[in-house]
């Protein structure tokens, strides 16, 4: 059975007329790395909030359809029970620091304290999680003294330490520099390698092509298209609907018109493009 099962989900924020999500059907298997793309207002964040239980438990509003994670329905659960299974991290690393703790170590333990985990287990779980994201050396620093990339990894670790079954990430790298982006992506990649299921909103197409197992494109609250990254990210449907594509895809598409690109499939990454042009020669 799928880990996540979304059936006919339609949702409207309070005081709005048009639904933010419209008739979403989605199954996610254990271990998938799903990337969600779409324009502003397409419903990406709302989908994240729905998976993480904040829609409707935190934002209220009108909801129909059902979200199930690991066989439990969101509507029959409360938010504090739900967050144990689904971890959420988002854009601004600064706002994800609880503000209640003075060191990174304490910050990461915050969720465990709330969940009532015994002290003896806390120590080892925090250390383990920090090792996983490579921030063991930051343990005694103040969370506010860190760089954006470091803070985002602290935020990620704070969620991971709670051992969720599903990790939901809403544009975690959008405020990062290239180094921060690489740090965050390599952590997520390692996690998926060890079997973690991840849903991630992300615009950096080349990174998606590299790591994601499936891409979902949202438009106006509905799923426009979905499938393997290589297929979705080069499809005409995306370009027709105003999605940005990788520069390698646009170059190859232009080259194809001129007969310079011989392969059927268009590239997304630099590597694929180089390989394709090389075969031409």
């Amino acid at each position: 059975m799928a880990l996540v099962n979304i059936q006919n989900l339609t949702y409207k924020y309070p005081l709005t007329k048009t639904p933010a999500l419209q008739n979403i059907n989605l199954q996610i298997e254990q271990g998938e790395f799903i990337s969600v793309i779409g324009a502003n207002g397409a419903g990406k964040s709302t989908l994240c909030y729905a998976l993480a239980g904040f829609v409707p438990h935190f934002f209220k509003g009108e909801i129909s359809g059902e979200i199930e994670v690991d066989g439990v329905a969101s509507s029959k659960s409360t938010l504090d029970e739900w967050v144990v299974n689904v971890g959420l991290a988002f854009q601004n690393p600064f706002n994800q620091i609880s503000g209640a703790k003075y060191t990174v170590f304490e910050e990461i333990a915050f969720g465990l304290e709330n969940a009532g985990v015994p002290r003896e287990q806390m120590q080892s779980r925090v250390e383990e999680a920090m090792k996983l994201t490579g921030i063991s050396n930051l343990a005694d620093r103040s969370p506010y003294s860190l760089s954006g990339g470091q803070q985002q990894r602290v935020a990620l670790t704070s969620i991971l330490v709670m051992q969720p079954k599903l990790l939901v990430l809403d544009e975690p790298t959008s405020q990062m520099d290239p180094i921060g982006t690489r740090e965050v992506f390599s952590v997520i990649h390692n996690l998926t390698q060890s079997g973690m299921t991840v849903v991630m909103v992300e615009h950096k197409v080349e990174w998606i092509a590299h790591f994601a197992t499936r891409v979902i494109a949202l438009k106006d609250g509905s799923i426009l298209t979905e499938g393997k990254p290589g297929d979705v990210l080069t499809s005409d449907v995306l370009t027709k609907n105003g999605f940005g594509v990788s520069r390698y895809t646009s170059v190859a598409r232009e080259a194809k018109k001129q007969g310079l690109w011989k392969k059927e499939k268009l590239p997304v990454t630099l590597f694929e493009a180089a390989e394709g042009f090389n075969r031409n020669a």
Binding site: A52, F54, F58, L79, D80, V83, V84, G87, L88, A89, F90, N92, F94, N95, Q96, I97, S98, G99, A100, K101, Y102, F105, E106, A109, F110, G111, L112, E113, N114, A115, G116, V117, P118, R119, M122, Q123, S142, Y144, S145, A155, S158, I159, M162
Partner: protein, 258 residues
């Protein structure tokens, strides 16, 4: 820029090792005795013969005297002047300042008030200098203080310096667009407005995100919370607390008796 707003000085002393609640009770004992004990020189004696030696025992005398000279004594001095000049009590005029008279009684009254204030702020200063805020809060939470309350206190201490930094950024941004922040008082007062808007509304938006972030980590979980740090509470601590509570009660009863 300050990384955080905290007075805590990490040192190893008998006072540092006391349980936070014991120190809190100690603070209230100081206040209780200073305000109720029916002896004119009590507050001054507490300050000279208990609080100052305590600062040395706690190994924070330098930081304490720094706070005392910069904050406590000026505040108490100001209070003394106000009370001495404006209290309309007593007959025997000691000195006059235009139409304001300081009498023997008003001076005595002003002295009492100032001395009490010195004791009160000094006791709190020592508490803050020797107690890590998160230790104090986790100990109080363990004893039944609502977690939300502890969160509000600690996060305010942490977020204030961040807001200060943000205010600086907004000022710089507005100045680069020609906002006048250096001329007459009235103009500067007027220039506060374009600062307050972005700061306040920006912070309100952040509040929602932060609420989601801590909610995602089970902040409102109904399970009994645990704590990463164990805050020791010894028999000595409990004994000290009882002795202090008896002292407070004694002082209050003496006050009512006499």
């Amino acid at each position: 820029m300050h990384e955080r707003l905290s007075f805590y000085i990490k040192r190893d002393s008998v006072i540092h090792r006391l349980n936070p609640l014991t120190k809190l009770v100690l603070v209230f004992a100081f206040i209780g005795v200073a305000f109720t004990f029916p002896w004119y020189w009590m507050s001054l004696s507490l300050f000279l013969f208990v609080l100052i030696p305590l600062a040395f025992v706690a190994k924070v005398s330098r930081e304490y005297f720094f706070t005392a000279t910069r904050l406590i004594l000026p505040a108490a001095g100001f209070l003394f002047l106000m009370q001495a000049l404006f209290q309309p009590i007593g007959e025997e005029i000691i000195f006059q300042f235009y139409f304001l008279d300081a009498t023997r009684e008003s001076l005595a009254f002003a002295f009492t008030i100032a001395a009490r204030i010195i004791v009160m702020i000094s006791a709190f200063t020592l508490l803050l200098l020797t107690t890590h805020p998160s230790e104090l809060m986790s100990d109080l939470t363990r004893r039944g203080l609502p977690g939300q309350f502890a969160y509000v206190i600690i996060s305010t201490l942490q977020i204030l310096p961040q807001m200060q930094a943000k205010a600086q950024t907004i000022i710089a941004a507005q100045r680069s667009r020609g906002l006048d922040t250096e001329s007459t008082f009235l103009k500067r007062a007027g220039s506060v407005l374009p600062l307050v808007g972005p700061l306040v509304f920006g912070s309100l938006v952040e509040v929602e995100e932060r609420a989601i972030a801590i909610e995602a980590r089970g902040f409102t979980s109904k399970k009994e919370k645990t704590s990463l740090h164990e805050v020791p509470d010894t028999v000595t601590d409990k004994t000290i607390r009882w002795v202090l509570i008896i002292l407070i009660i004694l002082s209050i009863s003496l006050n009512l008796w006499l």
